[in-house]
Symmetry: C2
Subunit: 174 residues, 2 copies
């Protein structure tokens, strides 16, 4: 169970984090079938999924269309408020600067991620956004939930892309 940052508040979820991450992995797999880098996120409040999204950068030709940002936008619509109090965000890949910043702005209370991102992760890998005491909101982070599955789906996606490129090159088409 999550350790809440505000111990007197109801936690966002009481079910095991794996039960939510499994759904995020399912969504990420769907994103891969659409040609998107397979990353998906969902937002949980009172142990219920209130928003979910996968990466849509290529589909929408939108640099902002990361899974976390799309899930946050939907959750704000569902709750009718930009303050996502009492909410946890689950995501298959460690959030980048934009997404970890969006979580801070949206007052997310807890973040659970699967795979670490050593090239652009801003929850511990490249930098840790939660370390700045002067910022006006703070959230807790749980790393590595279903990590092997989350890493695996990214590896499979990029391996398939490389194989396709190699085949095209061999056929003289690239």
């Amino acid at each position: 169970m999550q350790k809440p940052i505000h111990p007197n508040r109801t936690p966002a979820y009481t079910d095991p984090p794996e039960s939510f991450m499994a759904r995020a992995i399912e969504l990420a797999k769907h994103a891969a079938t659409l040609g998107e880098v397979p990353v998906a996120a969902l937002i949980v409040k009172d142990n219920q999924i209130i928003a979910e999204a996968h990466n849509r950068r290529e589909l929408d030709k939108d640099p902002i269309a990361h899974a976390e940002v799309l899930a946050i936008k939907t959750a704000a619509e569902v709750l009718g408020d930009w303050r996502l109090e009492g909410c946890a965000l689950f995501v298959t890949l460690e959030p980048c600067a934009m997404c970890s910043g969006a979580m801070w702005l949206a007052r997310i209370e807890h973040c659970v991620f699967g795979a670490s991102d050593h090239k652009s992760g801003f929850l511990g890998s490249v930098h840790d956004i939660t370390t700045h005491s002067q910022m006006n909101h703070h959230y807790t982070v749980e790393r590595g939930v279903m990590e092997a599955e989350c890493v695996g789906l990214l590896q499979d996606f990029f391996r398939a892309i490389r194989a396709k490129k190699k085949a095209l090159k061999k056929a003289g088409l690239e």
Copy 2:
């Protein structure tokens, strides 16, 4: 004139940065009349403004609706590509983690800002996102363009809010 990060490329603008920042300040003043914290951004390519936006967080009840993110989304629509190559972003206030991250994702080449944000600025104040060599894109930053005007409009906005609160309290209405 901006110092381009890629010296062989056409710079995003050749007019003085103040000419673009003056338009951003005008937009930010309009945001204040709508009850939004007065921050505005615009994107320039080939010396032309191709997108502009002001903060709409309260109007849209959307934690993501910062001026920079909205301007980036519009510019991507205008160009039909999520890669905003050859573009500079002007903004009245130092970008937060989300917005400085969004600029990185969108491949913005240069950022010009007015006022520094000592509580949440991620281009030098709280942290500097441009310092991470492992990230796959880098942009240059010019700080303090029309700083006094940009600071002034925020001070005026928050002073007016404090005065209103004080008056309501005095009248026993808050």
